[in-house]
């Protein structure tokens, strides 16, 4: 797709309207993956993002790493994004869940459900980079960034948007708009879609550490009084794989700023205190970040010629590492219903198609939000009877293989009515 420039009578450069099928607002990890799915299937898409994608490739931009569940990894494989990530992705072979000083812990071993790992740990920055390169190679995809949508008209007959970027204004005609602009989605707010939101009064402190002993590709979720403390395996130095982890340290919101303000040595000491010494000596590498944690759900994920995906539709507690995974499920489901409609010759922004997407995702998202919220509440307090229930619960899950398998399949993202992309089928 190219933008044709022509001279107006006044001699000013005017850009003629750009016709596309789908306008994606927000080219983050979710929006860019969706653009890949459409572009790979020959559907014209235009992606608008306020950020220059090159900024996102910098290590200082986003220090997080994401647990890519097995089902999400399949999406990345099918969309040809995985090859670029594969060498640096750390497989999660086991998950250990433990609690404070409790002697009980849950142990999930991937061999209980088959040969494949639960998922992989991938640095966000690497995923962004892989997506950036993949999009560049797709002819039907047109990326406009940094740019923003300054006017949006959605009506029964179609969509018209005005995009303002460094080169001026461009008018875009499309059949469908997708809001993938993250938690603070302007697309969602402008559409008048309300949000249910509650804050956990918790912050997630994120950093990367190296450690003396190998993590053996085990993920550890340790429940402390302030909330979950997750140690997630990274590949690290290719010559010495397994000696690097990503940490998500949940802390009371009022305490997080003072922890962030500590000097390196004191921060390290606080960290060691929580981390323990099971991996030997540890060392913080690179910067640390703090993110406020809140849960939010949009009252609907669709509107006239509009669908929301990813954090724009639902943001959840990172306790189960599911935010990106749920976003990728949105991607797989939406790409499928839209392509199915298109292959039937239907108008791709029609209400029946969008309804299918909404019904498909609603149940799944609500369930996941409830599960992660419930887990966090259950584990984020120190009331004695509750602790006993938790301990017994963890022991019980270990003792009951079918229940354990159920949780494990959830962790792998393999539960529920899966879209084709998550079932190793062509889109």
């Amino acid at each position: 797709m190219t933008i044709r420039k022509k001279k107006s009578p006044s001699g000013q450069s005017v850009t003629s309207p750009l016709d596309t099928e789908i306008l994606i607002i927000g080219g983050g990890m979710v929006g860019a993956t969706l653009a890949t799915a459409f572009g790979q299937s020959g559907v014209d898409v235009c992606v608008v993002d306020t950020q220059d994608p090159l900024d996102g490739l910098d290590a200082g931009f986003d220090g997080r790493a994401s647990a890519i569940a097995l089902a999400s990894q399949r999406v990345l494989v099918a969309l040809n994004i995985w090859p670029a990530l594969h060498p640096g992705a750390a497989p999660i072979k086991d998950i250990r869940v433990s609690e404070g000083s409790s002697p009980f812990f849950l142990h999930y071993d991937h061999r209980d459900t088959g040969d494949e790992p639960f998922g992989y740990m991938v640095e966000n920055r690497k995923l962004r980079k892989a997506l950036f390169h993949r999009l560049q190679g797709l002819a039907p995809v047109h990326v406009m960034a940094p740019a923003s949508v300054t006017a949006l008209d959605r009506r029964a007959g179609g969509v018209t948007a005005e995009v303002t970027g460094v080169h001026g204004k461009t008018e875009i005609n499309a059949r469908l708009v997708i809001g993938a602009d993250g938690r603070a989605s302007k697309t969602r707010d402008d559409a008048g879609i309300r949000l249910t939101r509650w804050s956990y009064q918790q912050a997630g402190i994120v950093c990367t550490v190296t450690h003396e002993r190998s993590h053996d590709f085990v993920a550890n979720e340790h429940f402390l009084a302030a909330g979950p403390f997750a140690i997630l395996p990274l590949m690290g130095d290719p010559d010495r794989p397994g000696h690097c982890s990503s940490l998500v340290w949940t802390e009371r919101a009022d305490l997080a700023p003072s922890i962030m303000a500590l000097d390196d040595a004191s921060f390290q000491a606080e960290l060691e205190h929580r981390f323990g010494d099971f991996l030997g000596a540890i060392e913080v590498v690179g910067p640390k970040w703090s993110y406020p944690l809140s849960l939010q759900v949009a009252e609907t994920t669709i509107g006239e010629r509009l669908a929301l995906v990813g954090d724009a539709a639902h943001g959840m507690h990172p306790i189960a590492g599911q935010g990106l995974n749920m976003g990728l499920r949105d991607v797989a489901a939406l790409a499928e219903v839209v392509l199915d409609a298109r292959r039937l010759g239907l108008d791709i922004g029609n209400a029946v198609t969008l309804d299918r997407y909404q019904r498909w995702r609603r149940f799944d998202n609500t369930l996941m939000l409830a599960m992660t919220d419930g887990l966090n509440r259950l584990f984020s307090n120190n009331i004695r009877p509750l602790r006993l229930v938790r301990d017994l619960g963890m022991a019980a899950v270990n003792a009951m293989p079918p229940l354990k398998k159920f949780f494990m399949r959830h962790a792998m993202g393999l539960a529920g009515d899966l879209p084709r992309l998550m079932r190793n089928q062509p889109l």
Binding site: A341, L344, G345
Partner: protein, 258 residues
């Protein structure tokens, strides 16, 4: 369901016997504006449209040796949609690559269809005509679509003869209608019209519903052999229509012209 009321109601229409009754025409013309509102009066048609299109696309692709997953699997096929209504089928078929003629007995339907095709940027030849008007186009079409029409016509045999006559030898017909069973009376007529209010009351006359055997026999007389029949069943939990083996209520037929 609705696409056509088969009666000449144009000015100067000839008094020759026609295949539809005047009441039906009036009823459908009144509904015309609402055609394209997926939540409006025609919501049921919008809801069954994906299943109908899937049946049509897959059978035509197989018959004419195309890949149904192609961007334009119906490329170049000359198709006439009888009882095209507001164009709910004609537009998708055009997007799939076919050349489309749409005819309907309701003048207003044709106007709605033209207007909408224009908005969608699709070139479709819409005409206010009946199949029996198209004597000069006998044997022209690769495919005739007869979707939710036959249950509304007054003279079934005359209608089937005129429709079948438009297909070239080796061409195909796709038809869909409502079976005349007690279940269809309960579900489609009483359930859909009176209870669920999916359809305006009075949309259907159950006595005109057509059994698959009657459709097959009627078409055979005019050289069209039905090679496949499928049911359309509503899955209440998924709130979606599916193709099924159950022909009790809504069914689809694919036939080949000798």
């Amino acid at each position: 369901m609705a696409q056509a009321a088969m009666k000449k109601n144009r000015k100067n229409a000839s008094p020759a016997p026609s295949t539809a009754s005047p009441d039906e025409i009036a009823r459908f013309t009144a509904m015309a504006e609402a055609w394209w509102d997926p939540k409006g009066d025609f919501a049921p048609l919008h809801n069954i449209n994906p299943v109908r299109l899937e049946f049509i696309r897959d059978h035509l692709a197989r018959h004419f040796d195309r890949d149904p997953m192609d961007a334009n699997p119906l490329d170049g096929l000359d198709i006439i949609d009888i009882g095209c209504g507001g164009g709910l089928l004609a537009e998708p078929m055009r997007r799939l690559g076919a050349t489309i003629t749409g005819i309907d007995a309701g003048q207003k339907n044709i106007e709605v269809a033209r207007l909408h095709a224009d908005q969608s940027g699709l070139d479709i030849d819409y005409r206010h005509q009946l199949p029996e008007d198209l004597g000069s186009e006998k044997g022209r079409y690769d495919v005739v679509l007869n979707m939710e029409v036959v249950e509304h016509v007054a003279d079934l045999d005359g209608f089937l003869g005129a429709a079948a006559g438009l297909i070239r030898p080796g061409g195909a017909m796709v038809a869909s209608t409502l079976n005349r069973t007690l279940k269809s009376l309960a579900l489609a007529k009483i359930g859909a019209e009176y209870v669920l209010r999916w359809l305006p009351v009075g949309t259907h006359d159950w006595r005109k519903f057509v059994r698959p055997s009657e459709l097959a026999a009627g078409l055979k007389d005019h050289g069209v052999e039905i090679t496949d029949l499928k049911g359309m069943t509503y899955a209440p939990i998924e709130r979606d229509w599916r193709l099924s083996q159950n022909l009790d209520v809504n069914y689809l037929a694919f036939g080949v012209k000798r």
